[in-house]
Amino acid sequence: MIGGGLIYAIAGAILFSLGLYGLVVHPHLMRKLIAFNITGSGVFLVLVGLPQRMAGTPPDRVSEALVLTGIVVAVSATAFGLALVRRFYDLTGKTRLPNDPRPEP
Amino acid sequence: MIPDPWLPLLIVLSSLLTGVLIFFVGEEQHRTRSTLNLVGAVAKLLLVGVMVWGVFHRHRYETRLPLLPDQDFVLRADAMGMLFVGLSSVLWLLTTIYAIGYLEGSPHRSRFFGFFSLCVTSTMGIALAGDLITFMLFYELLTLSTYPLVVHRGTPEALHAGKVYLKYTLTGGALLLVGIVWLYNVAGSVEFTERGALAQVSEIHHPALLAIFAILIAGLGVKTALVPLHGWLPVAMVAPAPVSALLHAVAVVKAGAFGIVRIAYDVYGVEFAARLGVLKPLSWLAGVTIIYGSLRALAQDDLKRRLAYSTISQVSYIVLGIGILGPVATIGGVVHLVHQGLMKITLFFCAGDLAETLGIHKISEMNGVGRRMPWSMAAFTVAALGMIGVPPVAGFVSKWYLGSGAIDAKQYWALGVLAVSTALNAAYFLPILHRIWFRPASGEWPKPERDGLETRPTLLVPTLITALLSLAAGLFAGAPFSPLGWAKLIAAREYVS
């Protein structure tokens, strides 16, 4: 029998793909950060959902621990990213990275 | 008995240490630097003397350190290596004295002599290497330490010459590396053994061994200036005279030729190489180079360039000697390693004398210079006659043995090459001699600095010594300690019968 976890896992996979797409495609830095968070949520859903894909399996403590750790990491990374974006905006007034990756001469 | 591990290592280290110390000597401390230089050169000569004596009394010397889990770093003293080591250490002392004199007043001398000493270290290592990976290590080190000497003056021409030099030598080194690794894969051990170790390798690998030989010769051929890999040599003439003397007589070209000798004799074994069919193409290549070099030399007006092409031609005599099967040809080739070194260094020393003292770089400017600088020009004459092959200078001995060897092996075409080459040598040397002695000077020469002496003693004395050595090597060729005697020993050990 298919457990509820499978729905979450599939949703997670979709979120992951959408988030990754957004991360690559959107030039606006804030959107990239939001996309990163969506991707992260997708991965966490898969982490928790996949072990639960069969009905009747008890909740997996290890996945829960992993996801908690992952959330903490994602939050710190987002905070750092936001600080950088904010500072970048203050210095240059831009919200997208320069197209040419090389630093100015 | 247990081989002594220290002496080979000390010989290599003596100039390494000297070089490192010299880098730290301040530019202004001439005395310290010269002292370090000379102490190092003399110490090395003494150590080499001890080793030669030891080898004569059947002592064994071997330094062995692990380099890779299955490959060792090996320094060993054998007959062939001793020949090269002996030549190098003697000529090094002389070139050091000469360079001290030549570079008087020029900038960056600490840098120059530091790299100079590194060059010696590399050459010693090449001579004493006991296997191919150690040989390769010092071979590439030689490239790296000669580059700064070539570009020493920092002029655009020097930098261009350096770039050309690197292109050729690094590519050659890369080919050599591929050849060595491939050989290691096919045949296992790559240590130098008398009469070579590859005869035991099974038949199926023979095509691979053929290809490996070609690659190795190509890699070594760059430094040996075999046609068509010789392009770097004439361009590198922009370097100061001591460097040209070094590159042409002792270090780079000889290292290449020495490498070819090692490959043919101590890795493949000359009889196996003949069976494999690689010796004939090698000798043809040598023949082409000999003729080509001599022809190009005719067209040069710049003295050092003419000598450069002469070197390209003359070093291939050694390769020709290797390529012709038979002990007599081997003797001729191997002994020419020493003879050509002595004669060519004399010629380059003279060229340097002319440039430094009188500002002469071109042959057309050399009219009547024999009157102004009789001693240097006498040395030049001796060496030039030796190059042509006039007895009793050493060059005659080498050519005699090469010619006899060619007859023995029924390679009559080689005899033709020798004859043509001798004629060409005469064609490009005799006119110079004529100019020096029999033409009146075109203008006033600058007066000598010191009364009575035509140029600085540090420039003159080494020139005279090498000229005398060239003469002695020919006159006393029959003596047991001559280069010829040593070459006979090497040849005897290489051939089974």
């Binding site: 982490l47 996945s63 992952g70 950088l84 | -």
Partner: protein, 498 residues
């Protein structure tokens, strides 16, 4: 579980010491940096030597944190490969720390935040090399990326911020891809331990997806062509000590993970197509990186593109090690040795460049004339490090090149030998492009500042170590052989079981 559980404190000290240093430097500010630089590397070095001795005696070392076994607890493990990586980190780390003391001693911006970030980065690296399960690898990798991104932005200028942001986003994307792969594997097999996973995993299509996600994520973090876009701006615009640790150490962490995962956990999935494909990407990186390096105007950008090229070399390990058992150990040793030598040489290169740039005040290569007069030691460091990069003897780079060539010819893959040789020649082109400048005389009006003497000395020491690696190769190589249990499986062909 193989190996002996060790109660000796060496493994935790390797992680706790730099963590403590990071916290202390955050609390006490830059005045504590001297004391910390004196104490921490010594402590780490001591712990490492003890760990090495224990390893020699008893083999594989395990350490369960808090004595809680896995999977709920975290277990650390040290084998030959880990020890080599830890040694690499410690050596480069000591000299970068010394260099940074000198570099930040003036009014250089960023000195305050460099230290906490650097110590945390070192802790993350040590923890990564000691991790024995997939999730711990993720956590330490994230720690590493965050610290590294922070270090990139140290100077506070907008170019560094842009480079740091790009780096951060790429790193995060890579980590998430990796984590997704881990999630899939965990869902399938219920374990995270590397050793257990190695025993359980089967070649199935779902695992292929997981392995691909993991690999792509890690390739993005190791900047293999074509996922290398973030590296040149980050390494080129960062401060020299930061560039040194980025190119020297941080890149090696994700490469290490790839080696571990592919050769220990799922070697059976290493198909010829995949292996040769990675090799081709590596070859493209080698040539394009070297070509671009040659055409750079700025010294640090040249060195950054050189890193892109050298990373390409690292990935030649894959096709060379997977073709047959004959080449496996040689190729793996060669690849790891290349990573090791490159760490020393590249760090030396960046440190020397930093000194040279501080002296002339210029970043442009064509203004470097006459530097040799004022900074002979740095120039020598650059030259010797360059020799290792070119793979010329005597240097660690030469040994690595020899091993890789040996593997290429032993397995009959002569085309990789061609790549190795041509790549070295191209490397020589751009190295000598810089070196020849220094033989020219400086222009009359050139101004030369002075630099703290520790900077050239640190650079020179690292370069010297790169050289020494060429002469003392037997010791690290024998150590690497002891991580070989997974090597034998490296050549199992891939078959898909439907």
């Amino acid at each position: 579980m193989t190996g002996i559980s060790s109660v000796a404190p060496w493994i935790p000290s390797l992680i706790l010491l730099p963590l403590a240093a990071g916290s202390l430097s955050f609390l006490f500010g830059p005045r504590s940096s001297l004391g910390l630089v004196a104490a921490t590397p010594v402590g780490i070095g001591f712990a490492l030597i003890q760990l090495l001795l224990e390893f020699n005696d008893t083999g594989l070392q395990h350490y369960p944190v808090g004595s809680w076994g896995s999977p709920l607890g975290i277990e650390f493990r040290a084998d030959g490969l880990s020890l080599v990586m830890l040694g690499m980190t410690a050596t480069v780390g000591i000299f970068i720390s010394l260099y940074a003391l000198g570099y930040f001693s003036g009014e250089q911006a960023g000195g305050v935040w460099f230290w906490p970030l650097w110590w945390f980065l070192w802790a993350a690296l040590n923890a990564l090399f000691l991790s024995a399960d997939l999730f711990n690898l993720y956590v330490t990798l994230e720690l590493l990326s965050l610290s590294a991104a922070g270090l990139v932005t140290l100077s506070g200028e907008w170019e560094s911020l842009a480079a740091g942001l790009r780096y951060l986003l790429a790193a995060l994307a890579g980590s998430l891809a990796y984590l997704m792969g881990v999630a899939l594997l965990y869902g399938a097999y219920g374990t995270l331990s590397l050793e257990l996973m190695a025993g359980l995993i089967r070649p199935e299509p779902a695992n292929a997806l997981a392995a691909s996600l993991i690999t792509v994520g890690l390739l993005l973090k190791t900047a293999l062509f074509p996922l290398h876009f973030w590296l040149p701006p980050a390494h080129g615009s960062a401060l020299p000590p930061v560039s040194a640790l980025l190119s020297g150490l941080v890149i090696k962490a994700s490469f290490y993970m790839l080696l571990r995962l592919w050769f220990e956990v799922f070697p059976s999935a290493l198909t010829p197509v995949f292996a040769q494909g990675i090799g081709i990407l590596g070859a493209i990186a080698v040539f394009s990186g070297a070509w671009l390096a040659f055409h750079q105007e700025k010294l640090k950008m040249l060195i950054a593109w050189s890193t892109v090229a050298q990373i390409g070399y690292l990935f030649l390990t894959f096709p060379l090690a997977s073709a047959s058992p004959a080449g496996a150990l040689t190729a793996l040793s060669g690849g790891v040795y290349l990573a090791l030598s490159h760490a020393m040489a590249k760090a030396a290169l960046f440190l020397a460049a930093g000194a040279m740039l501080k002296v002339t005040g210029e970043d442009r290569i064509d203004r470097l004339e006459g530097v040799g007069r004022h900074l002979p030691v740095s120039l020598f460091a650059f030259a010797i490090a360059g020799v290792s990069l070119m793979g010329l003897p005597p240097s660690g780079g030469f040994i690595a090149k020899w091993l890789l060539l040996d593997a290429a010819l032993a397995t009959g893959q002569w085309w990789w030998a061609v790549v190795l040789i041509l790549g070295s020649l191209l490397t020589a082109a751009y190295i000598f492009r810089v070196l020849r400048r220094c033989f020219l005389a400086p222009p009359e009006h050139a101004v030369f500042h002075s630099v703290p003497v520790v900077m050239p000395i640190a650079a020179f020491s690292l370069a010297g170590i790169a050289l020494l690696l060429g002469l003392t190769a037997v010791f690290p190589l024998r150590l690497l052989e002891k991580s070989a249990p997974y090597v034998a499986e490296a050549a199992i062909p891939f078959t898909v079981v439907p």
